[in-house]
């Protein structure tokens, strides 16, 4: 006789097996590995929670300690490959296949292991793509997650760094999977319920809090005059020109410079209240002066940022907070917000080619995508109009029938023509192509495709790719802002001057900006300490950013 509840029965049996090492739902740290051996079967799909910020580090270590004779060939489906343990499980044969989104600090080792055949790669995704696949063809059998606290029933408090947890738990718990949470402490009553108890099957109380990386803190002291100049160009030539109110910023120094120029340069241009008021953005400390000066109306966040907890709590008019007063972040919702409700993405990259394709891959590193491709892409399903979106659409297709013409999201790449160690930002051919050849990938890992990019901003000027009418014009527009790189020096000077006359390229002087005015005294805060002062002492930076 056919049975239609096989998976549920299997799950219930595994939970029962796991319960032999648990007291209710609570499992001692020393029994965490035994628990995993009881609930995991060879070949299971496992989500080991980790992204670019928080990590289920205790459960990673527990998984690494399982007997590979009992647990092996796992298929890891997780946002971040960040901790060494995330790759050690492949070395030990516990895991075999990998689908992921981001691998920042492990990017070199992951490339080496892929090349050496230690890892069978499914695909590298964006966050939103991987989350989507959790509900279609990559649903986890077991999720190993991290939370701040739990009560004995299993209600979880994830605190400001909620991030991916609701999405991972939704996909796992409602499709006959098992959810194991490591928590910093077990309490009588959680401050707020982020994950209800009936979705959580086991809890392990860790001896130390889960690891969180302060990834979004940029020290204003390190911002250069070149970055200030590009920031001024972006504010006057793009924010003001399109009236961009709803946006997302990348994490680089150029966008940190923009955040710190809003209350000074932006104020002088009379832009307050007209631009940069609603964000899909992590709690960037560099945005504190703009918030304090009344620029920002609302921010929804993917995750939190170490040291910003008290500031966020005290500024609940701006941030999303829970009944306990602390931030509630949610990566899936914030990514969706960035994709559908923001009119602009602006961020940095490592390499841009002659058609505007960009990549953060170098020949020996696969850093993954994270969220940038979703932020930096036109949402083809978008239907609501807004002024910047319509204006960008009009620039791209001036002869189109206005009532049938799609708008365009502004996708802006900003950077200095030469990056760290004088490495040029502009290249004839992306390293990503060489890497794809080497690893026999079907697709080169392109962060943002050229046909989504609308503007490139460097210290030499702004290239508006919406106004280019041929791939040759596009190439010359890019060369025309590529400075003294080989790509820049390879420009057709006459063509570049023509593009400038048409406003496709705009130099600082075309915008009334004197490069000599790009001075650090224009930054609303010139150090981390200044940010602390702006916050009235509410921002408490992690020690690595303190020099006092």
């Amino acid at each position: 006789m056919a049975t239609w509840q096989l998976k549920r029965e299997t799950r219930d049996n595994l939970i029962q097996a796991g319960s032999t090492v648990a007291n209710g739902k609570v499992v001692e740290v020393r029994d965490a590995t035994r628990l995993l051996e009881a609930i995991l079967r060879p070949g299971d799909r496992v989500c080991l929670e980790g992204d670019n910020q928080k990590q289920a580090d205790l459960l990673s270590a527990a998984l690494l300690a399982v007997d590979p004779a009992k647990v092996n060939n796992l298929h890891m489906v997780q946002s971040g490959v960040v901790l060494p343990e995330h790759l050690d499980v492949f070395e030990r044969g516990i895991a075999k296949r990998l689908d992921y989104a981001y691998s920042g600090p492990q990017s070199a080792r992951i490339a080496m292991m892929l090349f050496g055949g230690k890892i069978e790669l499914g695909a590298v995704h964006t966050y939103l793509e991987l989350f989507a696949r959790y509900f279609i063809d990559l649903t986890p059998n077991v999720a190993l997650i991290a939370a701040v606290s739990a009560d004995r029933d299993g209600n979880l408090y994830t605190g400001p760094n909620t991030e991916d947890t609701p999405t991972v738990v939704e996909a796992t718990a409602f499709k006959d999977g098992i959810v194991v949470a490591q928590v910093n402490q077990i309490v009588d009553k959680v401050p707020r319920v982020d994950i209800p108890a009936d979705r959580v099957h086991f809890i392990v109380e860790a001896e130390k809090p889960f690891f969180v990386e302060p990834l979004f803190t940029r020290d204003p002291a390190a911002i250069t005059e070149g970055q200030i100049l590009t920031a001024m160009l972006a504010i006057k030539g793009i924010y003001a020109a399109y009236g961009v109110e709803r946006l997302n910023h990348g994490i680089g120094f150029s966008t940190a410079a923009i955040e710190l120029l809003l209350p000074t340069y932006g104020e002088r241009l009379g832009l307050k209240g007209k631009v940069a008021s609603r964000f899909a953005l992590n709690p960037h400390p560099a945005l504190i002066p703009a918030i304090e000066s009344g620029w920002v109306k609302q921010i929804h966040s993917f995750g939190s940022e170490v040291g910003m907890e008290n500031y966020i709590r005290a500024r609940s008019d701006i941030y999303f907070t829970g009944a306990d007063g602390a931030l509630r972040s949610n990566r899936a919702f914030s990514q969706t917000a960035g994709l559908y409700a923001c009119d602009m993405f602006i961020g940095s990259t490592l390499q841009i080619d002659l058609q505007g394709n960009s990549s953060t891959v170098t020949t020996s590193r696969i850093a993954g995508f994270g969220g940038a491709p979703n932020m930096g892409a036109d949402a083809r399903g978008r239907r609501h109009p807004s002024e910047p979106w319509l204006k960008a659409g009009q620039e791209a297709d001036p002869d189109g029938q206005p009532l049938l013409r799609r708008g365009r999201k502004l996708v802006v790449q900003i950077g200095e023509t030469f990056g760290e160690k004088n490495v040029p930002l502009f290249v004839e051919k992306l390293d990503a192509i060489e890497l794809a050849d080497k690893l026999k990938l079907d697709l080169a890992p392109v962060m943002i495709y050229g046909d989504d990019v609308t503007h490139i901003v460097t210290e030499e000027g702004i290239a508006n790719l919406l106004l280019c009418r041929s791939s040759y014009e596009r190439e010359q527009a890019i060369r025309g802002v590529a400075g003294y790189t080989d790509v820049g020096r390879g420009r057709d000077k006459k063509q570049v001057e023509k593009l400038r006359e048409r406003g496709v390229i705009r130099r600082p002087e075309d915008l009334g900006i004197d490069p000599l005015d790009a001075d650090r005294s224009m930054l609303a805060a010139r150090s981390i300490k200044d940010l602390v002062h702006w916050s009235g002492g509410l921002y408490t930076p992690p020690s690595k950013f303190r020099n006092w």
Binding site: E225, L229, N422, R489, L516
Partner: protein
Amino acid sequence: MENLSLHHPTRQSAVGAKKMAIVGVVASGNLEVLVERVLPDHECLVEIRTAAEGFGEVWKAVVADFIERYSPGGLKFSINDGGARPDAVSLRLAQAVRLMEEEQ
């Protein structure tokens, strides 16, 4: 270390009367520019001592654009470079010319 000496004729002499100025600092990724009003009115000399080797063509391009744009006749620039990016070089040279515009 690499030394470059770039000599250019200029359309005009530099504005101002200041004899000498210094801008920037020698640090990694930065540079120091000493500028002196010691040459005939329609000549300019840029002497470069740089920690980064193999960027001769880029220096020539940066300096040629600078001379074209500012016409700094009569000025001698001595650059002590700590591996600055070309945009930083352009900016420091422009800052040096502005300082020389002062009367004394």
